[in-house]
């Protein structure tokens, strides 16, 4: 149960800042301690992440409220999905940096499901529990998030190809 790592990773991706993530984790652990009576067993990681996420949202509301109202712009980087060649994505050296940018560019509501599923390895059910969203919404947000990541990567690889890199 490596929950501190999970807590920090989620907080870091939602706040996109080292120190802010540390503050949020501290605050979340404090809340976990205070509300421990509300924990009725089950998956303690999911329970802690629920508190971390809630703390992140409170923090964002106070410090960067505009990020919570960011819309998912459907027209951005409208590249056909077939444009991403799996090998390109797997072998490209700069993919790490590109994926990081792509994830950070996602609105927070979509970023969080992608992080929880693809980096933290949580099940749809756990994500639905943590975000308090219906399972169908979790699925559709994940689908849109991943499609957007792919478009982002494809668009950038395209630009690089044009520059002759």
């Amino acid at each position: 149960m490596p929950h501190l790592a999970a807590a920090y990773n989620l907080a870091r991706w939602l706040t996109r800042h080292d120190q802010d993530a540390e503050d949020v984790v501290q605050e979340a652990c404090l809340r976990a301690y205070k509300f421990f009576g509300n924990f009725h067993g089950g998956d303690s990681r999911a329970w802690l992440l629920t508190i971390v996420r809630h703390t992140c949202y409170t923090w964002l509301r106070q410090n960067r409220a505009h990020e919570l109202t960011e819309e998912f712009d459907e027209t951005l980087h409208d590249v056909a999905r077939a444009d991403v060649n799996p090998e390109t994505l797997l072998l490209h050296d700069a993919q790490q940096q590109l994926l990081r940018q792509a994830l950070e560019a996602l609105p927070v509501a979509f970023r969080e499901v992608a992080i929880m599923r693809d980096l933290e390895g949580l099940s749809y059910k756990d994500i639905a529990y943590i975000t308090d969203l219906p399972l169908g919404t979790v699925m559709s947000r994940l689908a849109r998030a991943r499609t957007r990541l792919q478009q982002y990567v494809a668009a950038h690889l395209h630009t690089e190809a044009k520059r002759g890199l």
């Binding site: 920090y8 652990c29 390895g121």
Partner: protein
């Protein structure tokens, strides 16, 4: 299932979150539709890239200590020494449990078990080998043709058992890429079922007895013995695939000087 439905369900399929019926329908559609297969492969590649990336943020080494100090301060500020929480636990117990819960187990195993990830790779490798009509690089029913072929293609020597008498004729071998490394893929047949047997050197550790799992309508048997990891996958029913696995295990010769860790099926 049509392409629109497939696009809707593709992610659930990729994440192994679909029910058996949808999953099977989607597999069938993928076998018939190159466009959806390409979309699937692209998404799978993206997922692999994300999983194998270093994008997971690790907390600074000072954080555990800071958190512990914060929680301790809060518990001292609690003036009533024996306040009971709603769950019936004392403050001290609650604190101890939160502290345990937050970093027990260390910070190492932060992802879901690796095996699940390898398992997905194995299924994908099997499906890919059948879809792309790229079942073999070396087509031969002769183990003495297939075994030498791997020299120069992989940096280990996979055993190539002859199981014709047990009803599993060898079809050939191929190079594949799983778990982020090149692996040997041996192809056998049972009636119309293709069987892929993936072999690669195991990270050092004890031998692992076989385990059988079913995913997306495929049966898989996995074990580790004599320093090699084996995964076999097929649409063949589980008892017959296990019989195949036992046949393979009987042919594996452990390195000399090392105690045999194989299971004898007899």
């Amino acid at each position: 299932m049509d392409c629109d439905e497939t696009q809707d369900l593709l992610h659930g399929y990729l994440d192994d979150e679909l029910d058996v019926v949808s999953s099977r329908a989607l597999t069938q559609h993928l076998q018939a539709c190159p466009a959806c297969t390409q979309a699937y492969e692209a998404q799978r590649a993206l997922r692999t890239a994300l999983r194998t990336s270093a994008l997971y943020f690790t907390p600074p080494p000072s954080l555990p200590k800071q958190v512990r100090a914060t929680v301790r301060r809060a518990s001292r500020a609690d003036t009533r020494p024996m306040r009971w929480t709603r769950g019936g636990l004392s403050v001290a117990v609650a604190m101890a449990i939160v502290v345990l819960l937050v970093w027990s187990g260390g910070l190492v195993h932060r992802r879901s078990p690796v095996d699940e990830h390898v398992l997905q790779d194995v299924i994908a490798g099997h499906v890919r080998s059948l879809m792309a009509a790229h079942l073999t690089d070396v087509l031969s029913a002769d183990q003495h043709t297939v075994k030498p072929w791997f020299e120069g293609h992989v940096d280990f020597a996979p055993p190539v058992p002859d199981l014709t008498t047990q009803g599993f004729p060898l079809v050939g071998g191929r190079l594949d890429y799983l778990d982020n490394r090149p692996v040997a893929a041996l192809v056998y047949k049972r009636q119309q079922h293709a069987i892929n047997l993936f072999v690669w050197p195991a990270p050092s550790g004890p031998a692992r007895p076989e385990s059988t799992v079913t995913r997306h309508g495929y049966n898989l048997v996995q074990w580790t013995t004599a320093g090699m990891t084996y995964w076999t996958v097929s649409t063949l029913n589980a008892p017959e695939l296990e019989a195949f696995a036992h046949g393979v295990q009987q042919h594996i010769t452990p390195p000399s000087g090392q105690k045999s860790s194989r299971r004898d099926a007899g």
